[in-house]
Symmetry: C2
Amino acid sequence: MYSKRLINAASGREPCDIVLKNCRVLNVFTGEIIDGDIGIAEGRIAGIGEYKGKEEKDLEGRYVVPGFINSHVHVESSMVTPQVYSVEELRHGTSTIITDPHEIVNVGGADALIDILNAADECPVNYYIMLPSCVPCTEFEHSGAVLDARQLRLFMNEPEVLGLGEMMNAEGVINNDRTVSEKIKEFSGMIIDGHAPMYSGKKLNAYACAGINTDHESVTFDEALEKLRCGIAVLVREGSACKDLEAIIKGVVESGIDTSALAFCTDDKHLADIRREGTIRSNIKKAISLGLEPAKAFQMATINAARIYGLKDTGAVACGYKADIVVLDSLEDVEIADVYKDGVQFKNITEPEIKEKKMMRYNTGLMHSVNPAPLADDAFDIPEREIYPVIELVKNQIITKKLIMTHEQITENLKNGSVRKIAVIERHHSTGNCACAYITGYGLSHGAVATTVAHDSHNIIVIGDNDSDMHKAVEQLKKINGGYTIICDGKVAGSLPLEFGGLMSTISADEFIPMLDDIIKKAYELGVDKDIDPFITLSFAALPVIPEIRITDRGLFDVTDFRFIEE
Amino acid sequence: MYSKRLINAASGREPCDIVLKNCRVLNVFTGEIIDGDIGIAEGRIAGIGEYKGKEEKDLEGRYVVPGFINSHVHVESSMVTPQVYSVEELRHGTSTIITDPHEIVNVGGADALIDILNAADECPVNYYIMLPSCVPCTEFEHSGAVLDARQLRLFMNEPEVLGLGEMMNAEGVINNDRTVSEKIKEFSGMIIDGHAPMYSGKKLNAYACAGINTDHESVTFDEALEKLRCGIAVLVREGSACKDLEAIIKGVVESGIDTSALAFCTDDKHLADIRREGTIRSNIKKAISLGLEPAKAFQMATINAARIYGLKDTGAVACGYKADIVVLDSLEDVEIADVYKDGVQFKNITEPEIKEKKMMRYNTGLMHSVNPAPLADDAFDIPEREIYPVIELVKNQIITKKLIMTHEQITENLKNGSVRKIAVIERHHSTGNCACAYITGYGLSHGAVATTVAHDSHNIIVIGDNDSDMHKAVEQLKKINGGYTIICDGKVAGSLPLEFGGLMSTISADEFIPMLDDIIKKAYELGVDKDIDPFITLSFAALPVIPEIRITDRGLFDVTDFRFIEE
């Protein structure tokens, strides 16, 4: 960090590398707007004042704010590599992301973590990592890997690592579960992210007492306020599915509470949404439109997050800080005129550096991670019974309902197309595990839809109206090393390879976005209900922590009773 | 930090150790006052709500705030041990101190640092240490020790150590001095305290760019504001001599700037002043009286300092935080009703624990640190010259003036008592170094006054009207292993042993305060000028960084020219 050259430039003994002249700089420490020139050397801010530079640019009185910090994000949700994702973030002003590679590590374990750490070094943003705390997510399914406290410890001193990722096993925390407490103890000197939706009262107190530092699951102001009072920093989330910002920020504005323990995040946001409006940029804009003082909104997006995560040289346009800078045409509308990362203009970052680096320095295993055991012809047979438990999908939500249907109802509904078969096939270790059940609410007039994105263990999920297309879909996913596929009458009607771990594509954003649009369109053409996302909804069908009923490779799981449904 | 018992108490499964009922708790995260009971277990806050405890205390609606943090203090200025000092701080609500043992380490080096680290473990406050960055302070005198970057590195992972202490060699920082930059590089991942009085513009920018995180030397609001804008946290100082708070806080209130990068400190405050009004307690009270919102004043005194120094479980009354608590009868007047440290009431801390632990676990060397070489009878002779440079003390200030007097003037002034001899004798390594000169403005009708407290190298300083009493004073200091002494006609007229390094007494505060009062009174009786502190003024006569003229063991030093005055 120490740089003789930077000190010489700051003191005026040497010219700066670049000087941004005629700026109106937001100072996040004092909340003021300061007029001046920004001197930059060695990728850092030398000072604000009158500086001379080898290169000078007149910003003509535009606002300058620090690069934004996305304080909690799962990059896998974008389905592109960290390198490609980072450029999309940076385009809209986010220069620092704090990520939890929970999904890919559930597939590839320590190997995947090493790939992501290597990828982080190639990204044009400050790419920090919270180590996934829940691998596997639950004991009710087979994931690709297990990371215990000892394995996590191996990574805790890596320079990109800030602490332990969201501790989703909140019940395990407050009940002193041994495998959970081992991890928490190990990371007590670092930051520990929480995940405590609707936790309150003594349960929340117990969770905070374990040493949890942040939470991004608050959906109301009251929930956020109670967490803040407990000493848990609140990361206000606005992603593609979860939109919590309006409720929380309205409460903040009305109550006038201190905002220093609040920051912004997206958690999960799709690439096309990011391309359209950015991430933290749109959070700031929305917060200001709801009445939050602009200075406070930008503090949440920058220095607050930096302080919460202990980042010393990020989150401010101030002496010695990284020259991660956003130039704005308008403060309130967060209209981005330009972005600098380490003092380099955005247009000079994307072109030469990323194009050749967009591929992961992947290890072979993760590029061939779809390895189901060969399926028997009758793998998707469901034995005849008097009644059947059925998964009912709920429109525009990820919860499901548990229905009971008689044999006659099933027969009738399969015929009229309101019920389909769904199967989950273990794909990491060729165990041959396979479970099959009935599902309603998906639509799909004919064919099979399948994915290797299947939270959180990412086995194969396939849904269909006939066993033959379902078999073919599994074969196709194996062939493309994972991704999305649609099979109709034995033919591939659509295919989106996600060859890195079955979760992420290694192509560019420009290539990827239309391919994704295309396969979603194809699914709707085949009759998937328009109020359902054909693949994302499917990907949550195997997550055994969200009510009421799920299917894993081990069978149908009743989330309310927290146990498998016996045949 | 992880405690199963705490989690069980927080969740209500087990009773708390103690519950403080009916409190009005200041929440430093939100700025609110929350009514409730505070549950405490294992010395930490389990939660606020309705808790049952093995012991319960009704606080009858009193305010509860977090224990205060003194963010920068030299304990040596109190002249008592860390253990004794800590109790005086805690009495007035300070439960965390961040100290720089710069003085004692300049005497005893790494051995002294180990003593202080050991003492820290016995203190009833959170006793954090910033490693002294300037040992020796300058090259113009012989101190007791040298600590280079390599030696400092040995201590950087000690649990009490937060970073590098105030980097007083600010010119060395901005000019890339090698021994300075080595230390800064070593500590770039930790906190580095600054010391940049009146630094501004490009010099200040360069200083900040080196990675300096804090400064406590601002005396005006404009100076503080400029440092804040640079990203340097401002520790607002109110000690016995330096009183900067009014100027800075008035500016903060008038400008309405954000206060999150501001904290409070004392730097140097005498024990009797602390006993009378406390430290941070009086800072808060004064800040509120100047119009600062109480919540903001308490945030400065607690969570702000904790965030600046990266302390995770201190500075808030919130789940999992240390139960370091101040109970107030009044928020605005900061009238302290009670103090808890780690959940233990103050009255139960002082009596049993401290009385037997007040002695340092000293190493033998530091209890025998006054080792001047035997002095020749003519050691204090000053060779006859035509003119002499003379040190002039300035009333109520620590700066000095350089005067020139002829031989005739000297002879006359020695006779009328306005000029006295001053000598500095190297006392660490028996080098035999001794310098003698003339001084005016001190008073003293007859006898000799001497001290081993002599910033920053702490050699022996003696002043007198006759060589015999001066010799005797040096002998007496050697005999008592350092401290203050007054000799008159060959007899000891006053003696205050400071046997730990010649800087600190190992007796209790109750014993120490009257002894100090007594020897100061004695000095005034012997004619020391009433506008001079007989010992503190003397202790700065050897500090070769404050204008205009000083005397070290190597000779008279012209601070303006930054060189020794040739004979």
